[in-house]
Symmetry: C2
Amino acid sequence: MNSYYNKTRRSTVRRRAGRGRYDRATIDAILDEGLVGHLGLVSDGQPFVIPMLYARRPDGEVPVIYLHGSPLSRVLRTLASSVPACLTVTLVDGLVLARSAFHHSVNYRSVVALGQAAIVADPQEKLAALDTIVERMVPGRTADARGPSEQELAATEVVALEVREASAKVRTGPPVDASEDYPLEVWAGELPITTTYGDPLPDSRCSLPVPDYVSAYRRAHAAPDLA
Amino acid sequence: MNSYYNKTRRSTVRRRAGRGRYDRATIDAILDEGLVGHLGLVSDGQPFVIPMLYARRPDGEVPVIYLHGSPLSRVLRTLASSVPACLTVTLVDGLVLARSAFHHSVNYRSVVALGQAAIVADPQEKLAALDTIVERMVPGRTADARGPSEQELAATEVVALEVREASAKVRTGPPVDASEDYPLEVWAGELPITTTYGDPLPDSRCSLPVPDYVSAYRRAHAAPDLA
């Protein structure tokens, strides 16, 4: 579990090198917790960063990240043409309030993954990839929702980003102030950040009860009590 | 408030063009609600996407986004060398569960901002920019925390990204299913996503009460009640 994942010159964390992590388990766990990633591509020398739903393929020697969209999408067409890509996933865990403005920080876990992508042409892998993306939204959903028709499959492009190099960066814990600042009368500590789900809103034409797997998912992401 | 902000060929939303927004008010509101942005840069043809704290300068004809870090940071040095950059900010507002897997979606608000950056050399603007970044974390914090010393200012680089082109993309509302799918016995609707703050955790050397501005900020981001 702790094998290093292709730590190369350009994927090595330099600033705050102590926060760098390169093991597959850390990288996979961050990828599996995020919902929206930020995909970087270059077009005519200009970088573009596009938010996208994604899902990691659950198996494989090398991390593979599925992305999907319309076959007409510029982003997907560019991505599928074997250009260098970067997918970054960031989980923000809390604000870090230090006694000095200078030492303010954020607790976070992020992955920067570099690789190249190709269209998933195999129909079975394509279907499995789409299921993986829907299951990432709410576990249990694929068994309930109507699966894709032939026509819908044709109107969906799935792209697999093979990750060649990746690094994670993680900050946890309290602020670290300069020793001479600890006596200051300034509150210091962490303000944890959580992503929670509100009451499910059925659409106006739905009179069915909220399914158990939706309620369970929501409870698993319950908010902390407000004091 | 509704003037279009430099809608150019490359900043025009093509896929789901109906979700594209170009007015300053929408763009500024999304930038002001986000905490971490994703900065895209190119190095040797490879795009890199780096998560960064940012803050919008509150005034000005053109949107300006402040970023900061160590003067030794590769990212900041590259950014300050007038290369094309992209900063993307994404707010995820909810999962959209349709009757068909195909029509699943996410409610979100995002901004893609293209521009070039320069170091903020003026000491007063630099100090104001750092205050703006700290205030974005928790409003009221700059009046409490110790401000930066000369030495700390020298150890911090502030970069101003002048946004030349920008677009926002917004999805709201319920799922839109194919008309023949509405009779299906599948729950459909939205699962709203909220960012909430947990109990403040004072660091082990802090015995002061939680300041009012921290409690107020937390209440302003209270979680919805769990049914």
